[in-house]
C-alpha cells in the first residue's frame, strides 16, 4: 500500500518546489495571524486589505515599502558575502550605525559638527560613499581579523561590538556632533546632501539604486569571478580551499571588509534618505532583520530583492493596518514572525511527496521500505 504522504530521500530542490513551499508558508502565516485578529474585533479580510493597500496599493505606498526594504537589502547582501566565506559575523547593526555616523559627518562638512572643511558639490557623493563604506569595513574588519588571524569567536565578538558601536554613536550625538538644543541628535543635514527622491510625490530615494547596484555586484562577484569562487570554497571547505591554492585568510578578510562596507551603506541610506539627521536608535534592529532576510532568500543575492521588498512591505503595511484597525502592535509583530518562521519551516515540506490516488505508480521502489 502506498502512503498518501511519502518521505523523500533527498529534499526536492527545484525552483518550483521552493516557490510553492515558500508561498504555502506565507499563506499559512496569514491565516493563523488572521485568526488572532478575531478576538480583538478585527476582520482579517479587511485588515489584510488595509495591509496590502498600504504596502503595495499605490505608487506612493510602494515607494514607502521600497524605502523600508533598501537597508534590508544591503544588510542581507552583506550577510551573504560574509557568511558565504564561512564566518558567522552578525555585527551588521554596528556597521550600519557607524556608516550612518560617517555619512552624517561628511554631509555636515563645513559645519562645527562635521568634517572641518567644506566639500565641493562634485566631490560630495564619492566622498560620502567612500567614507561610509570605509567606516563599516573597518568596523567589521577588526572583528574579522580577530577571527581569521587568532581564531576568535566572531559571532560573540561581533554581537558585543554592536553595543560598542551603539555607544560610540550615542557619544557622537551627545558630544562632538550634537546640535544646539535639548535632544541628543545632530543638526538636520543640508538638503543638498540628501539622497534625492526618485519621483515627486514618492518617498523612494536613490538609495534603492545603491541597493540594486550592490545586488547585481554581489551576484556577479559570487557567480562570475574567480574571487567569488574562492570566497565560496573558502567557506565551504577551508582545507580544500588551501589545497587548491586559495589564500583562505585573505579571502575571508576580503569578504568581511566588503560585508561591513555594504552594511554601512545601509546606514548611509537611512540617514541621507529618510531621517536626514543622526540620532540614537536610528538602526532599529535593521542589522538583525537583514540577516533574517538573507536567510529567507537562502543566501541567494537575487532572491534578496523580492524578499526584502516583501518584508519591507509587511512592515509598512502592518503598521498601517494596525493604525486603521486598532489592533495591538504585537499582532503585527506576530504576523511578521510567523511569516519568517513558516517560510523556513516550509523547508520540511520539501522532504515529502504527495501520492495522489490514481497518480503515477512507478516511483515507489526507490523509497526505503523500513520505517
Amino acid at each position: 500500500m502506498k502512503k498518501l504522504l511519502e518521505r523523500r530521500l533527498a529534499p526536492a530542490e527545484s525552483t518550483g518546489a521552493l516557490v510553492l513551499t515558500s508561498f504555502c508558508g506565507i499563506l499559512a502565516a496569514f491565516i493563523i495571524a488572521g485568526l488572532l485578529f478575531i478576538p480583538f474585533g478585527g476582520n482579517p479580510l479587511s485588515a489584510y486589505g488595509f495591509l496590502f493597500d498600504a504596502a503595495f496599493g499605490s505608487l506612493r505606498s510602494f515607494g514607502l515599502s521600497l524605502v523600508q526594504s533598501t537597508p534590508l537589502m544591503l544588510i542581507a547582501l552583506a550577510t551573504i558575502v560574509v557568511w558565504r566565506a564561512g564566518l558567522g559575523y552578525i555585527g551588521f547593526e554596528g556597521c550600519f550605525l557607524l556608516g550612518a555616523a560617517a555619512a552624517s559627518w561628511i554631509a555636515l562638512s563645513g559645519t562645527p559638527q562635521g568634517f572641518p572643511w567644506a566639500i565641493p558639490a562634485l566631490l560630495y557623493w564619492p566622498l560620502v560613499l567612500i567614507a561610509a563604506f570605509l567606516a563599516g569595513a573597518i568596523w567589521a574588519g577588526w572583528v574579522g581579523a580577530l577571527r581569521v588571524k587568532f581564531g576568535g569567536n566572531d559571532v560573540l565578538i561581533s554581537l558585543m561590538a554592536n553595543y560598542v558601536a551603539l555607544f560610540i554613536v550615542q557619544y557622537l550625538v551627545s558630544g562632538p556632533m550634537r546640535a544646539p538644543g535639548d535632544l541628543p541628535q545632530t543638526p538636520r543635514l543640508p538638503v543638498e546632501s540628501w539622497l534625492p527622491f526618485v519621483m515627486n510625490g514618492m518617498r523612494a530615494h536613490w538609495g534603492i539604486a545603491i541597493a540594486l547596484v550592490a545586488t547585481v555586484f554581489v551576484f556577479w562577484l559570487m557567480r562570475a569571478t574567480p574571487a567569488g569562487f574562492e570566497i565560496k570554497i573558502a567557506g565551504l571547505n577551508p582545507r580544500a580551499a588551501r589545497y587548491s591554492g586559495v589564500d583562505v585568510n585573505r579571502r575571508q578578510m576580503g569578504a568581511v571588509l566588503l560585508g561591513g562596507g555594504l552594511a554601512a551603506l545601509a546606514g548611509l541610506c537611512a540617514v541621507l534618505g529618510v531621517q536626514h539627521r543622526l540620532m540614537e536608535g536610528i538602526s532599529g534592529g535593521v542589522g538583525f532583520i537583514g540577516v533574517v532576510v538573507a536567510l529567507l532568500a537562502r543566501l541567494n543575492p537575487l532572491l534578496v530583492i523580492p524578499t526584502a521588498i516583501l518584508y519591507g512591505g509587511l512592515e509598512v503595511g502592518g503598521s498601517a493596518m494596525q493604525r486603521q484597525t486598532g489592533l495591538p502592535t504585537s499582532v503585527v509583530l506576530i504576523l511578521q514572525s510567523l511569516v519568517v518562521l513558516l517560510i523556513l519551516a516550509g523547508d520540511l515540506l520539501r522532504y515529502y511527496r504527495i501520492n495522489l490516488p490514481g497518480g503515477r505508480q512507478s516511483r515507489s521502489p526507490l523509497a526505503e521500505e523500513q520505517s
Binding site: 574567480p226 582545507r239 580544500a240 589545497y243 589564500d247 521502489p365 523509497a367
Partner: protein, 517 residues
C-alpha cells in the same frame, strides 16, 4: 588457543533487502565462545549490514538469530545489548564534551533509587580497565583523548555492560601501529576470558595476525568460512574478490629524464608539534614514478603536504627544476607545475557541495578566466569538465551533478583527471586507490601510467604494497619520518619492503612479518 565447539551466536539464513538491492542473501554465520572471528569482504560486500542486523540496527527480512541456543528477535540495539552483544562502530559514538565515565554510563538504566552514582561507576570502570590493561582516566574529557584511547572507551563501554560478543567495525582504520598492537593484545585477553570478538575488516594481514576463524563475504553472500590455520593471505584475497588478485598494468619501460623534483633534507612537524619528518631527501625524475611505501602515520602525509606547502618546512628545501620553491605559496607552486591528489578526497580533494564543473576548476580558478583574469570563463570550464568526464569515464548524470554524490571511484577519477589535465611537471599522489573497487583501481592506475609516459614526475605515496610494486619505477620506504631504504622496483620484493616498513635498518631484529602484506 583452541576454539571450543560452544557456539555463542548463530545467524541463520539471513536475508536483507534494501529496495531492489539484496544486501545479505541467505547468509549464515556462527560465532563460538572465546574466538576472534574475522568478517572479511570488499566494500559493499554486505558485512556491515550483517553486523548491523546482529546489533539490532536493522531487522532481517528472513532468517533468525540464535543466542546461546535461544532464538532472539532484536527490535533495536537495546535488545542486542541485553543479550550481551555490543558493537564499536567505525565512527565512535561518544559525546565529546563529556567525561569518560559519563560516556560509559550513558543510556544505562539506574538502580531503583534513580540517583546517578558516578563515583561508583568510575570505581567499577577503573577496576575493569585495570583488569584488561585498558589504561584510562575515568574523569578525562573524551574530546581531549587521542583516537586510540577513545576506542578504548568504546570497548570499556561494552565491557561495562558485560558484553559477551564484541563487534568491532574496521577497528584499526584510525590507529597508529602502536595503538594497533595494544588493541590486538586487548582483544586476545578478552577472548581468553571466553568472550567472543567479531572484527569486520578488509586488511588481510591483521586477520592472519589475530583471528582464529575467518568468514568471507562477497556480493552479499557468505562464500567461505575457514579456520585461520587452513588458509593464507593469498588464499583469502582470492576468496574475497573471487579470483586471483593480479591487477597488472601495462608498464612500458621507464625512461627517466632529468631530475625535476629535489627534496633536500627537510624536517616537518605536525599540528601538535610532533616531529613527523626528519632529514628526508628525495629526487624524482621526469617520466618516473617514485613509490613511497610505509605503514601509515610514518610521515608520508606530512611529506605530501609539505610538497604543496600545506604544511610548513621546519628545515631543508625543495627544488623544482633546480629552482628553490621552499617559500612559495600553494598557489604559486601549483602555477609552477605541481599537482596533488590527496588521500582525503572528500575532505581535501574536492568541495562536495559544489558541482562537478566547479570541482573541475578547483585549483585552476585563475586559468579559466577571461577579461584579464577578472571573470570566469564558464564556457571553457564546462568544456573542461566534459573532457574529464569523457576521458576518465566518470559515471555521472551530467556535469552539474553534485560532486559529493559521486561514488568514491568516480570522484577519484574526477580528481585525477583534473590534476593531470594541467600537464603538471610533478604529480604527488597519496593513497590513490584507497577504498576503490577493482574497476576504478584499474582506471586510476592507467591514468597514472599515462601521465608518467607523458613525462610527468610522479611521487606516489601508498600503504598498499601491491600498488607500490606494480606501479613504481623506484621505491623508497618511510619509517618513523625517515627514508628507511630506497631501491629500484625490479629489486623489490614484498618481504624486503616489509622488513624496511617495520624499521629493519633501525632495529637490528627487524622483520615484522605481520605487515609484510
Amino acid at each position: 588457543m583452541t576454539a571450543t565447539a560452544n557456539i555463542r551466536v548463530a545467524l541463520n539464513n539471513i536475508t536483507k533487502r534494501f529496495a531492489r538491492v539484496v544486501a545479505n542473501d541467505d547468509v549464515s554465520l556462527s560465532i563460538k565462545a572465546g574466538e576472534i572471528h574475522a568478517l572479511l569482504g570488499e566494500n559493499g560486500a554486505g558485512k556491515s549490514t550483517l553486523m548491523q542486523i546482529l546489533y539490532g540496527l536493522y531487522q532481517a527480512d528472513e532468517g533468525s538469530i540464535v543466542v546461546d541456543g535461544k532464538a532472539q528477535r532484536f527490535r533495536d540495539p537495546s535488545d542486542a545489548i541485553a543479550c550481551g552483544i555490543g558493537m564499536v562502530h567505525q565512527e565512535f559514538m561518544l559525546v565529546q564534551p563529556m567525561s569518560v565515565v559519563e560516556n560509559v554510563v550513558l543510556g544505562l538504566k539506574e538502580r531503583a533509587s534513580g540517583v546517578l552514582n558516578l563515583q561508583a561507576a568510575a570505581a567499577r570502570l577503573q577496576a575493569l580497565s585495570d583488569k584488561h590493561g585498558l589504561a584510562i582516566d575515568p574523569w578525562a574529557k573524551v574530546q581531549h583523548l587521542p583516537i586510540g584511547v577513545q576506542q578504548r572507551v568504546e570497548i570499556l563501554k561494552l565491557l561495562y555492560r558485560d558484553a559477551q560478543v564484541l563487534i568491532l567495525d574496521e577497528p584499526t582504520a584510525v590507529l597508529t601501529p602502536q595503538e594497533k598492537a595494544g588493541l590486538f593484545a586487548t582483544l586476545k585477553s578478552l577472548c581468553a576470558e571466553g568472550r567472543s570478538v567479531v572484527i569486520v575488516t578488509h586488511k588481510l594481514y591483521e586477520i592472519m595476525a589475530i583471528a582464529h576463524h575467518v568468514s568471507v563475504m562477497r556480493g552479499g553472500k557468505m562464500v567461505d568460512s575457514v579456520d585461520i590455520k587452513d588458509t593464507s593471505e593469498r588464499d583469502l584475497a582470492r576468496r574475497m574478490v573471487g579470483r586471483d588478485v593480479v591487477l597488472r598494468v601495462e608498464k612500458t619501460p621507464c625512461q627517466p629524464g632529468k631530475t625535476v623534483l629535489q627534496v633536500e633534507s627537510i624536517a616537518v612537524r605536525d599540528a601538535s608539534g610532533q616531529q613527523k619528518i626528519w632529514r628526508v631527501s628525495l629526487n624524482v625524475a621526469a617520466g618516473e614514478i617514485l613509490g613511497i611505501a610505509g605503514v601509515e602515520g610514518n610521515g608520508q602525509s606530512e611529506l605530501a603536504e609539505a610538497l604543496l606547502n600545506l604544511r610548513e618546512l621546519e628545515a631543508g628545501r625543495i627544488l623544482l627544476n633546480g629552482e628553490d620553491i621552499s617559500d612559495d605559496s600553494p598557489a604559486t607552486r601549483r602555477s609552477k607545475g605541481i599537482s596533488f591528489i590527496p588521500a582525503d578526497r572528500r575532505g581535501v580533494g574536492s568541495v562536495t557541495d559544489l558541482s562537478i564543473t566547479d570541482n573541475a576548476m578547483l585549483g585552476r580558478q585563475h586559468t579559466f578566466t577571461r577579461a584579464g583574469g577578472w571573470l570566469l570563463d564558464r564556457q571553457r570550464i564546462n568544456q573542461h569538465a566534459r573532457d574529464i568526464i569523457a576521458r576518465f569515464a566518470v559515471r555521472t548524470p551530467d556535469a552539474d551533478f553534485e560532486a559529493g554524490k559521486l561514488s568514491g571511484g568516480n570522484l577519484q577519477k574526477l580528481i585525477l583527471g583534473r590534476e593531470v589535465a594541467s600537464n603538471p611537471s610533478v604529480l604527488i599522489v597519496e593513497q590513490p586507490t584507497r577504498g576503490l573497487d577493482v574497476g576504478a583501481i584499474e582506471s586510476v592506475w592507467q591514468g597514472l601510467m599515462a601521465a608518467r609516459d607523458r613525462g610527468c614526475a610522479i611521487l606516489m605515496i601508498s600503504a598498499e604494497l601491491e600498488e607500490i610494486i606494480n606501479l613504481s619505477d623506484r621505491i623508497a620506504v618511510m619509517y618513523s619520518g625517515q627514508i628507511a631504504g630506497e631501491m629500484a622496483a625490479v629489486d623489490a620484493t614484498p618481504e624486503r619492503l616489509g622488513e624496511l616498513m617495520a624499521g629493519a635498518h633501525l632495529k637490528k631484529s627487524g622483520g615484522n612479518h605481520e605487515e609484510a602484506a
